[in-house]
Assembly symmetry: C2
């Protein structure tokens, strides 16, 4: 049984609670779904003019959902937890516009699987968070909550900013390149990209199906684990505690020299601190061939995006941003089946190779960004940090453990083997405690 | 250059032309998109009361599309070809109801990628073809065009019947178990299930993403190859001619004894005829472990379906058929992540094993059904014929080469290695010529 005392103590700042704390407080009767929802709405009302994380938000509808949950008394793993949903994910009661004027005002007929599973668990849908155009390169309106002159990162820009700025404790994003890892690093929150194929993406706009996954943005690793179980449609289990000395491979990938020197030092220092805290840390090198994954990722995603968006290309070409038209779409339309197959075969071979490389390790420690959020409006800088890992289909957790030279957050990435997501959470919690 | 003479000769029966013949005739000026569309509409008007292949069909809209194509004069790989689209595939100008009253009248905001690619190539969208409920077990209204007391097979029931009954030369289906292969066999048409992952399924209802593919129903192998290139978004290439003596492995899978004796004899006879025609035919055995793929398919698809349909389950449970609720959905809701992963690992291991098994063969010859269309209304009998092959992610072509004891069609299946779809077409054409 949770003690009511600590709940009461933060009752005035309900919007700062994690999802796990919210559920505990509501179940204990210390607060209500409505009170939590109103606290988050107040925070948003105060901060949204600067941050602009939300594409759609209807406070009355939020309060109505929360009241209905309070009335029903129904328990649930996310009972009363306000969540943000990236606006490429379908919702039956809110518009979904995929970040493009082409689909402005579009109303899907049903919830995406991930949204329906969230509601089933008792979540309150706060609203839709800003995405870049088609989850690609053209920016949305969101700014970095810690410095409005910088990007929040993208493409899950609004989800990263909303969680980092205490609008909601949890948000859904997606990742095809670095669209969850990057905003997690820039907005100082936990980011999770699951094993490819584990969490259903029905009702989520497909960018590139062979690379796309959902993503979770959260303020604690316990919340990440809880939400993953909800999205997996299984009974939630706490993070396993039996991890004495995690075996961590410190990985300085082929792009290491492109990181900012301060970030290199922060990561090297973190590896040493993890070792001092009792982890078995060694260096893990990626074979040179992994560099070829950047081109493979570019061709595979381009090929798939250019076909997925045929309707928009044929009917609304002029309303697609020039940057997207002249970038991935142009490449994709020019990519033939032979090159696509060749790139796919390369990626599959390296996936098998990575299994041996990771052998004997619980997780790899790797960069989550070259540095702090970049100035200006490019929401998706440095794709090379993310391309190889995403193509590998392995799960990743971004830990908000560093501060850069300007005092802004930088994340560290932990990566585990395919389907080892639970073990990854245990390592992430262990590392989080050791590093903070 | 096509000669106009043979075109003129079948001008009276335009609805019997293949897609390839239609494009050739229109390009040669021998007929028009409108004339072809009207011929198909007449055939449908005559036959639909018996066959009931169509969920949605608006003749005026069909003629309007055809006229616009005639006016534009735009060439295209499918110029003027009427196509049927399974009603789990989104269309921007026609309702899409996924075979369930829950979504009756639903209007998607855009075309599925495969529909947009078809239109881009100049196809005329005839209408939406009947699907079973959610492409699962509960039947639609369609009957077998050769015997109204029998099933057309499912779940792509309307697509199979519409092509087999000369309503349209081409139709889109999908396959998660045997949903294209089965109706192809029962309706006497070519069926094609592509290498998993090759053809985008954006805008197609996901049943079970790790197994789902599009499917093509056609009346010639040339049409299959042409339509695949359109759906792949590449310039069409004719089927390669350089196949002197295809190496065919005759496969009597573990379920061979469950086939009807007449079908066993037809397949054995076909293997002998292929050898006599010059193919190198040998026997290929599947290791006993392949039988475990039935359970793996059941658990994987159940797990994914039960999560994909969370919105319907939570909001419309009573409107889902009892057969689906008590079948795959019940299994899927009971399936945990550990079993799902275990089954997925088994399937992946056998996929790698199949590569060695198929080594040295251009294709395998295998059953496409236990016999003729079964009497009554079960649209998806004998899933065990299809489960293992579909789970292997390899491409398959169903050839309409046999007649059973009641004079009804039975197909033979040819299967090639992953991404060897083009070579499979060459073998299929060679085998078709040898067997008919």
């Amino acid at each position: 049984m949770p003690s009511p005392a600590p709940v009461a103590q933060f009752a005035a700042r309900l919007h700062e609670l994690t999802a796990t704390e919210i559920v505990r407080a509501i179940d204990a009767g210390s607060t209500s779904c409505e009170a939590v929802a109103r606290a988050c709405l107040e925070r948003i009302a105060e901060r949204e003019p600067q941050v602009q994380a939300w594409e759609y938000l209807d406070p009355e509808h939020v309060v109505a959902q929360a009241r209905a949950l309070d009335r029903s008394g129904r328990r649930g793993a996310l009972r009363g937890v306000p969540i943000g949903v990236k606006d490429i994910i379908d919702t039956c009661d809110m518009p979904t516009a995929y970040g493009t004027p082409i689909h402005k005002g579009h109303r899907p007929g049903k919830d995406a699987a991930c949204v329906a599973l969230s509601r089933k668990a008792g979540a309150v849908l706060m609203g839709k968070t800003v995405t870049t155009e088609f989850a690609n390169v053209h920016p949305g309106k969101t700014r970095n909550p810690f410095d409005a002159s910088r990007t929040p990162g993208g493409s899950s820009s609004g989800s990263g900013a909303a969680v980092g700025d205490w609008h909601v404790p949890l948000a859904l994003g997606t990742q095809t390149t670095g669209s969850t890892t990057r905003p997690a690093s820039f907005c100082g929150v936990f980011g999770y990209r699951p094993t490819h194929g584990d969490l259903r993406v029905t009702g989520v706009m497909e960018a590139s199906g062979s690379l796309d996954t959902l993503g979770i943005l959260a303020r604690s690793i316990e919340d990440v684990a809880l939400y993953r179980d909800v999205l997996l449609g299984v009974a939630p289990e706490p993070i396993s505690a039996d991890l004495a000395a995690p075996r961590i491979g410190f990985c300085r990938p082929y792009f290491w020299a492109r990181l900012e020197p301060a970030t290199q030092r922060l990561l090297e220092d973190a590896a040493q601190r993890l070792a001092r805290a009792g982890a078995k840390v060694d260096e893990v090198a990626l074979p040179g061939e992994f560099e070829a994954l950047e081109a493979a990722h570019r061709w595979i995603s381009g090929f798939e995006m250019a076909r997925n968006l045929t309707w928009e290309i044929e009917n609304h070409w002029e309303r697609i941003s020039e940057k997207f038209r002249n970038g991935r779409l142009k490449d994709g339309l020019a990519c033939g089946y032979e090159r696509y197959c060749e790139m796919r075969a390369l990626v599959e071979r390296l996936r098998r190779q990575l299994v041996s490389i990771m052998d004997g390790h619980d997780a790899l420690l790797a960069p989550a960004a070259p540095g702090e959020a970049t100035a200006g409006w490019d929401p998706v800088p440095h794709p090379w940090v993310y391309m190889a890992w995403t193509a590998m289909h392995v799960p990743s957790v971004t830990l908000p453990v560093f501060k850069g030279p300007a005092g802004l957050p930088i994340g560290a990435q932990l990566i585990a083997g395919r389907s080892e997501d639970r073990r990854l959470f245990a390592v992430a919690r262990w590392a989080w405690r050791a590093l903070t």
